[in-house]
Symmetry: C2
DNA sequence: TTTGATGCAAATGTTTTGCATGCAA
DNA sequence: TTGCATGCAAAACATTTGCATCAAA
């Protein structure tokens, strides 16, 4: 693949942050180094890097996709109040694939799991940023 | 809440099908009984019914949201080939909330989990409908 | 050079919303 | 009647794409 300063900038930024920014956030963050970069290029490279396995795309129930520069397998927590996405330190849940496969005649290749609730910051505050997604009550 | 024939029609349709249709599919399906219904009304009522807990909204990694007239807690399988969404018969995974909470200082209120792979139909066919979403390799 | 990557802008697909009108209570 | 629900159309969002240009190899 051909080198590009923009792609390098995106990857470097994602590797440097602990949060899970949106394409728009990444776009704004790297404008200092790339004053003329376009949002389309950011999206194009995020898609490419995701396909290469260099980064992860996190689809949340609400709002734009988030991106994760940590490509080691791990799970995420999503705060229902401030929508922060946090990494969780927990073992693989590979065993749940077997549970799913038990009464299913297709092939279970994997799963996606997100946890939600209140993040540490929102637990200790009246409100975090004012937004509050409707509590999800079903694990489906 | 005030009665509406449109809302009733949407709910009746969702309760009657085993699949997990999109808003657009629902819109088309109930046009026989509601020739003048608008997509906006379908979306408005789907949002309302979801908030009431009468139905479930299923956010998949790709494509429009799907809706589920079965409001009993259960998990879903998503075929990476034909994108069919199927119900899974499996026990609650409530225990994984404890695993997630173990090294986390916020509050884990719940989780969402989807399983993916090939559905029974696609397992036995060269291709199902031609589409094929990129295999997801990380359980994150 | 050659070919992939970019910037720009327009297009796409999904969902939401404003507003005048209609229908349930 | 009163006000929520509707139809319609426009707007809002997030994301993708066509195309001429630019830059890496």
């Amino acid at each position: 693949m051909k080198y590009s300063r923009q792609r390098e900038s995106i990857l470097r930024y994602l590797r440097s942050v602990k949060c899970h920014p949106t394409a728009e956030t990444i776009y704004q963050a790297i404008q200092t180094d790339n004053p003329n970069i376009s949002l389309g290029t950011v999206y194009r490279n995020l898609t490419l890097l995701t396909e290469l396995g260099e980064i992860n795309k996190i689809t949340v129930f609400d709002g734009p996709d988030r991106f994760d520069g940590n490509n080691a397998p791990h799970y995420h927590f999503i705060c229902r109040k401030c929508r922060a996405v946090l990494d969780l330190e927990m073992d693989s849940l590979a065993h749940i694939n077997l549970l799913a496969a038990h009464n299913f005649s297709g092939t279970i290749e994997g799963h996606m799991a997100h946890f939600y609730g209140l993040c540490p910051a929102c637990m200790n505050q009246k409100s975090c940023n004012g937004s509050d997604i409707p509590a999800v009550t079903k694990s489906s």
